[in-house]
Symmetry: C2
Subunit: 468 residues, 2 copies
């Protein structure tokens, strides 16, 4: 009987554990999880804070008991792995006592931690991040307290109320990525006056400029105060945070959410001599095997090959973690399985709008790997012009001028009008290296309640192809 | 100066005219249209009948005046072409008088006509089809009269009222394809008691069985009486229709909509010696050129190559007409352009559900071209399980057992939950010959308001791949 040890019991780890055990029931599968939760949907935390999800337990897809009893996985919670010894093929973990286990196969799925930006005052009371279940719990409690003790607003009573006297807050959000924007929705939806600070000149900077602008406009419509080019210098106050300080001045706040990204947890791997890649995350081959035989890495602690550039990229997201974990599980169970590359695909809902992006939109990055990028944005309708309802769909495409190869895309529309699901077509195109001409000839589904005869994706491909 | 003559002024014809003239303004472009409308969205007619679109003119994307004045196209309405002479390179048309024009390039885009099934009584008053603008006008007038003169129901007041005393109708629909189903929505939405008769054992027979069943269930929820295996023998009555007669008996009706498909209008082409293909529609090569040099065919009168089977197929739909027309326009203007194949993609809204299908789902057809087809259907959630709202998404995939190549797919969900837009990913897969393993590794967009971590499309691919 061989032993498969897994460090970290979230998406990658539990996917690997479940798949390995299902494919090879004789395998001994041990999972060490440092915290108190496994297999949870961290992506749902903003909606828990908002109040749209009632219980933290709702975010758990499979409980520890189910893993243990139904899937026969030796899951050890509150066990922190403190060392990997690749020579002895052992892992040392600390729970109530210290245990050393031997492994035949090892998966490092230690995840990522919220980045601590170089800002004074991060340790003041009222400063939060949102990367763990306990972060979510703390934030929900804060929202609940503010609504009970503060001047009350009903949740979801409409736009945030920064021009009204009876607002909650004000509160600050540092960072204009997904977390910042989802939390703006969560807090504004609870009646907080929200001030968002973004260091660069636009929010959602991995999306196209047109998409960023469309979401920015909508945040304005929802009375979120967005400060661009706003490098936060300090979170001022006493014990508790009282103001966000930038070069432009002080914005009084009662609470701050810092959402400036995450960085891979690589200490354990580094200490064991496992190689990190150019991105600073753990390097792994197509099978997710690291520099050390039988040691795999998957999830937010690892990098992966980008399908467009062929270069390693660090894009810590849930699907990749699940997919790579599952691939490792299959491999360990005897069927060598590639984890697949990443396209840098992402989706976000911002109040009543939705957006998605995939592939390479950044011209500098495209040039670095030998492309001659061109970009075009079109605005089209999400349904036939004569059909009731619908919205504008903005589609940005980037392609290589010479070959016409689609490199990346970004879409935005009203929520429910299919910007995100339409991006699925572009993921295929960037993954397979499809040309604009070929894409524009795709026989996509059409009926008036769903799109114009040429779906916006096709129109964008035609227009950009015409510009080559 | 060379002359481009186009027979038929709908999607294919006007796309060709516009593109040719834009790319080569020196070209003399003449369009003969037999009827009184050009460039209209026939796909919108059910929604005009329903009352969601106010005016027939709303379905016209570009008016005759715009074609003439802004695009400098010599558009001749109410001109029926009666002969093509490929030797003299002339076309003879009858308007107020007869004209003969010479062409350098000719496009046959004569469209399709509603099939007249072998049913007695099709000529009775109150029997309608829906393939032209005048059909739409007649049906809207009927609905209006019934609502004014008959026992009134408010439109969209909920399910059709077949169990109530104050229903409009009853009315019959012959045919359970898109038109039949869209018209069931249109008529039930106006308070009619609707009886739908489908010859075969399921509706939407080009979709997967699971999709057909999901739509069938929903029609039942909406109080549409669907009769399967119901071959209609006669539409009985006096001057006006009074009953739909099948072997099972008579169903009293005040009106009947016959929607049993369309057949290509090929008479003109046949008379000129232009070859038809195996499907009975006009044959054309990748550039849409027919058996005769400089004579092209596009739109509902022509067949096209299927991207999966490589065989000719006849799937008369709007996007193909637009795309093939545009390709002919470019070719005629000097840039030889392939029109692209077809995947048999289709979408339909049925009350509060939506469905799409693409590629080859039929096992017999797949076997005929050398595949060993396997099929699986999964039911997944349209959003994260913990996220509010959403519905089930049913995904059926068919693939080749040996290679894993995706051959076809069919999806169904509540309206707005992305069955149709998700099908875009499958169109790419069937067009490019992607395998299940590769598809299931796609880095599709994920966030809780839009899907589960593994989008239902990915889950279906994983499950079917596991069954090989």
């Amino acid at each position: 009987m061989s032993t498969f040890v897994i460090i970290g019991g979230d998406a990658a780890g539990m996917s690997a554990a479940s798949k390995a055990k299902r494919d090879d029931p004789d395998l001994d599968v041990i999972v060490f999880e440092a915290g108190e939760w496994v297999s949870y949907g961290a992506c749902g935390l903003p909606y828990y804070v908002k109040g749209e999800i009632q219980s933290l337990e709702d975010l758990v897809s499979i409980t520890p008991e189910e893993f243990r009893e139904q899937r026969d996985i030796d899951l050890r919670m509150s066990h922190e792995v403190v060392a990997i010894d690749p020579n002895d093929r052992t892992v040392t973990a600390r729970g109530e006592s210290e245990v050393v286990v031997e492994y035949d196969h090892l998966l490092v799925s230690t995840g990522a931690a919220a980045v601590e930006p170089p800002i004074d005052g991060l340790d003041r009371d009222g400063v939060y991040t949102l990367s763990s279940m306990s972060d979510g719990k703390d934030l929900r409690e804060y929202v609940g307290r503010a609504r009970t003790e503060g001047t009350l607003n009903q949740p979801d009573s409409g736009p945030a109320c920064r021009f009204l006297d009876d607002c909650n807050g004000p509160v600050g959000i540092v960072g204009g990525g997904y977390i910042g924007i989802e939390m703006a929705e969560a807090l504004a939806g609870n009646g907080f006056e929200v001030h968002l600070f973004q260091r660069g000149e636009r929010i959602l900077k991995s999306f196209s400029e047109a998409t960023s602008d469309a979401i920015l406009d909508h945040l304005g419509e929802q009375d979120v105060a967005v400060n661009l080019n706003a490098e936060v210098e300090a979170l001022a106050g006493g014990d508790g945070v009282e103001a966000v300080v930038t070069v432009d001045g002080r914005t009084p706040v009662e609470m701050v959410l810092v959402g400036t990204g995450v960085s891979p947890r690589t200490d354990l791997a580094e200490d064991a001599g496992i190689e990190l890649g150019a991105t600073g995350a753990i390097a792994a081959d197509a099978y997710r095997e690291t520099s050390h035989p039988d040691i795999y890495a998957a999830g937010d602690c690892a990098e992966a090959e980008h399908v467009v550039t062929g270069e390693p990229a660090y894009v810590p997201l849930a699907l990749t973690a699940n997919r790579h974990g599952r691939a490792v599980g299959r491999t360990v169970a005897g069927t060598p399985t590639e984890g697949g590359g990443i396209a840098g695909t992402a989706a976000v809902k911002a109040f009543d709008r939705e957006a998605a992006r995939t592939g390479v939109l950044d011209h500098q990055r495209a040039r670095r790997v030998g492309f001659d990028p061109i970009t075009e944005t079109i605005d089209a309708k999400s349904r036939a012009g004569y059909y009731p309802g619908g919205s504008t769909v903005g589609v940005t495409l980037t392609a290589d001028r010479d070959s016409g190869r689609v490199l990346g895309g970004s879409l935005v529309a009203e929520y429910g009008e299919g910007a995100v699901h339409r991006s699925h077509a572009l993921v295929g195109a960037v993954t397979e290296g499809i040309g604009l001409g070929e894409l524009s000839n795709y026989d996509l589904a059409y009926a008036p309640p769903f799109n114009t005869t040429w779906d916006p994706v096709l129109t964008a491909a035609k227009v950009l192809d015409g510009n080559r």
